[in-house]
């Protein structure tokens, strides 16, 4: 519970706000390009597909890594530096089960939910800009979106991506925290490493997953 609070609830604000902004930017940029081809009615499709397939899971995971992953690493690293983990071992409490595992699971549960919120907020942001600001037809916006986005193919693959990213980020975060040198520099270095390695792993995994999911179709 406390770990989902820590990893999930505290990340909601940054996820929701950045999702909204990214959706708005996508709509503004997409409208500019699409209207040159007279295809501005496809704006909803553009916003929804790029969010659900790519930006939701990827940007969501990057934000999650920098917001929650770094915090998890710092917390575990600090526990190690202040010898709380050694104290647990002295009391025959397994620190992996007591400290590491709940944070790992908290991260995995939170990540898909956050990615879905990110995509949903992005689409709402796109709607706000496209329909309310730029004056596209609301019915066209939704119906074109619905006819092009496939539940199993697009939405499910996005959810699978976010679960994979959640596992990767949580694993990196708890490992770096547990592996940190028990000093102030050690903890700060581990926190930085978490964010850097997570970002690289997320983007690398994304290439592999996308190649498998959307290849040749």
């Amino acid at each position: 519970m406390r770990e989902i609070w820590f990893a999930g609830v505290l990340s909601v604000l940054i996820i929701v706000v950045s999702g909204l902004f990214i959706g708005m930017v996508l709509a503004l940029q997409g409208y500019d390009t699409l209207s040159r081809f007279g295809a501005s009615s496809a704006l909803g499709v553009l916003v929804a597909l790029s969010l659900v397939r790519e930006l939701g899971p990827v940007v969501g995971a990057l934000l999650f890594a920098s917001r929650a992953g770094s915090a998890i690493t710092a917390e575990i690293g600090l526990m190690k530096a202040t010898e709380q983990l050694s104290a647990m071992e002295m009391m025959a409490v397994n620190p992996i089960a007591r400290v590491v595992a709940p944070r790992f699971w908290g991260g995995i549960i939170s990540m898909p939910l956050l990615a879905a919120m990110f995509s949903a907020m992005g689409i709402i942001g796109g709607y706000l800009v496209g329909v309310v600001l730029l004056g596209l037809d609301s019915g066209t916006f939704w119906s074109q979106m619905q006819s092009s986005v496939d539940l199993r193919f697009d939405v499910m693959n996005g959810v699978i991506k976010s679960i994979v990213f959640g596992i990767a980020v949580s694993l990196i975060a708890v490992f770096e925290g547990y592996d940190a040198a028990p000093t102030a520099e050690g903890v700060s270095g581990a926190t930085t490493r978490t964010v850097v390695i997570s970002a690289l792993v997320i983007l690398g995994l994304d290439v592999i997953l996308t190649a498998f999911m959307f290849r040749g179709i």
């Binding site: 609070w5 659900v52 919120m117 689409i123 006819s147 496939d150």
Partner: protein
Amino acid sequence: MKRGMLDFWVGLFIAAGVVAILFLALRVSSQSALPARSTYNVTANFDNIGGLKVRAPVKSAGVVVGRVTNIELDTSRYVAKVTMSLDNHYHFSRDSSAEILTSGLLGEQYIGITPGADDKMLTAGSTFKLTSSAIVLEQLISRFLFSKAEDSGDKTNAGNQ
């Protein structure tokens, strides 16, 4: 932070996440993805499928009735064999024709079914007897240019005589 408040916020968080997933599932995506059980497969042979892709829609009178599931080259006759799964709700008579159409000038290609008048219906595994291939724009243009050239050739010949 008290335990009760913590539980409340975590519950709210999970609920918001589920709502977001439902929003994506119900509002953003289509449920027209046909359930796998209630379909039957029919095939059609085309001389040329143009740019038809797997998962392209199959439409009759503009209504989506199925999807293309497989495209392969039949090496015995060198025609494209297109397999499509049609919704079990829709049945077409045996002499229906299938043609490859394009939505808009540069849009995606889909299969259009024009119903026939036969009493017997197409069943699983049967084949469309009447098909017409995709229109390839290059062939159309070259045919047009050739006929133009022929016309002007006739005129100059007539002028010489």
